[in-house]
Symmetry: none
Subunit: 226 residues, 2 copies
DNA sequence: CTTGACACAGAACAGGCGTTCGAGTATCAT
DNA sequence: ATGATACTCGAACGCCTGTTCTGTGTCAAG
């Protein structure tokens, strides 16, 4: 009798299949499946086997279970549920330092502690793609961008910008990272602070200007004084 | 035998209570309650009565039900689902106008268009209660609070504040609404702008100062230039 | 070869849970 | 009065569902 064997390591095919089924079932029915439903759709004839896998998935931290409670399971962590977007917080942004740029690895594994959740309904435009990342502002150096110490800036990585977009740029001539509205003009670039009372930075075409990303959203949690 | 009667229209006290319980239970347990659990916590001794109310709530569109399925109910529309919080946007806030204050009615019925969704994981402290509201900033008058035109401020209604909290105040002497950090001092109040380069407003005790709410979060959607 | 872990099946148990039914009470318009 | 409507209760029915127990086949280590 044939038997697909998967000793030892990581997620087996069946684990993945169960995980996927829970996710798709949840999306479709708005509630988790029962053990028997999982069995049917994953070609597992016995409820005890499903329970067997569910236990493992729980131990591995992929799901949580409320024992004794019907359909009391849910996906945890990295799996995006519902209308949320999980954006990794890659580090801090401050005037004197280049900002961290995201690598593909960053989007693979990041813990819930290092990420922020955004409701997709809040996301402007069609930035709902997953290639977003976040940085926490350190210091008061971004006040001319109306951004405070501790604020969270959500960025979309890009090398070029259209006029009027707020971008994160690295000015190698000045050794400075800054957030400004970007305008390309005849003789160079104009970087306009968000604060209307402040004057823009004018750059000649010869000066280096590296666009690192485009600002999509700024979030300020005012909990530092509770 | 006394009997609270609620003929005809709208949500009765029990409807509301059930709705609230479902929401709080869901937040705590990550899954909906059973009919019997609702009964226990809402002082309803018979499952059929709970079912009776659930049917009505479904007809009124406040919940959805998957019949025959354990805990197969969920809140719809205005009620926050899962880890989201739906905050009503009651209006705009600008320097020359008093801010709209929330009434109970505002928390009952508001359309998804007039509200913003916040992931509870983003919410600071224990402001996860439902009595939050949001205002959209109009004009540049709040730049000294590091808040831009179009930003969304999320407030918790309150009349008094602790030192260091950012509050929305109405200065009737000056006919002005402003957002500042609040400090009570010996001879009066100090209202400190968030922008550290700006000077505070000093108020004598005699001057009127109406605290309208406490700032919990600021959200800036940078989509005006897409 | 024996042993033990691992993967799986099937059946049975027990409690959870939605549903339904019968019956009772209070308010109100007719 | 009378019936209609709204609301409540208690109990029973029966499926749903998680849990547990027994047994079987595979495979690698000793």
């Amino acid at each position: 009798m044939m038997m697909m064997v998967r000793k030892s390591k990581g997620l087996g095919e069946r684990h993945q299949r169960i995980l996927d089924f829970i996710a798709s079932y949840q999306r479709e029915h708005k509630h988790p499946p029962s053990i028997r439903e999982i069995g049917e759709h994953c070609d597992i004839s016995s409820t005890s086997v499903v329970n067997y896998y569910l236990d493992q998935l729980e131990k591995n931290g992929h799901i949580e279970r409320d024992r004794k409670i019907s359909r009391g399971m849910r996906l945890t962590g990295n799996t995006p549920l519902g209308d949320m977007l999980r954006v990794p917080v890659l580090g801090v942004i401050q005037a004197g330092e280049p900002i961290p740029v995201p690598s593909n690895a960053d989007f693979q594994s990041f813990t819930p502690e290092d990420s922020v959740e955004i409701a997709t309904s809040l996301m402007p435009g069609r930035e709902k793609g997953k290639e977003l990342f976040a940085l926490q502002v350190q210091g008061d150096s971004m006040i001319d961008a109306m951004i405070n110490d501790g604020d969270i800036v959500i960025l979309k990585p890009t090398q070029d910008a259209r006029n009027g977009e707020m971008v994160a740029v690295w000015l190698s001539d000045r050794n400075e990272t800054t957030l400004k509205y970007y305008y390309k003009e005849k003789d160079g670039y104009r970087l306009q602070p968000a604060n209307p009372t402040m004057k823009p930075i004018m750059l000649k075409k010869t000066e280096a200007l590296e666009i690192k990303g485009k600002v999509v959203m700024v979030i300020r949690k005012v909990d530092r004084y509770n």
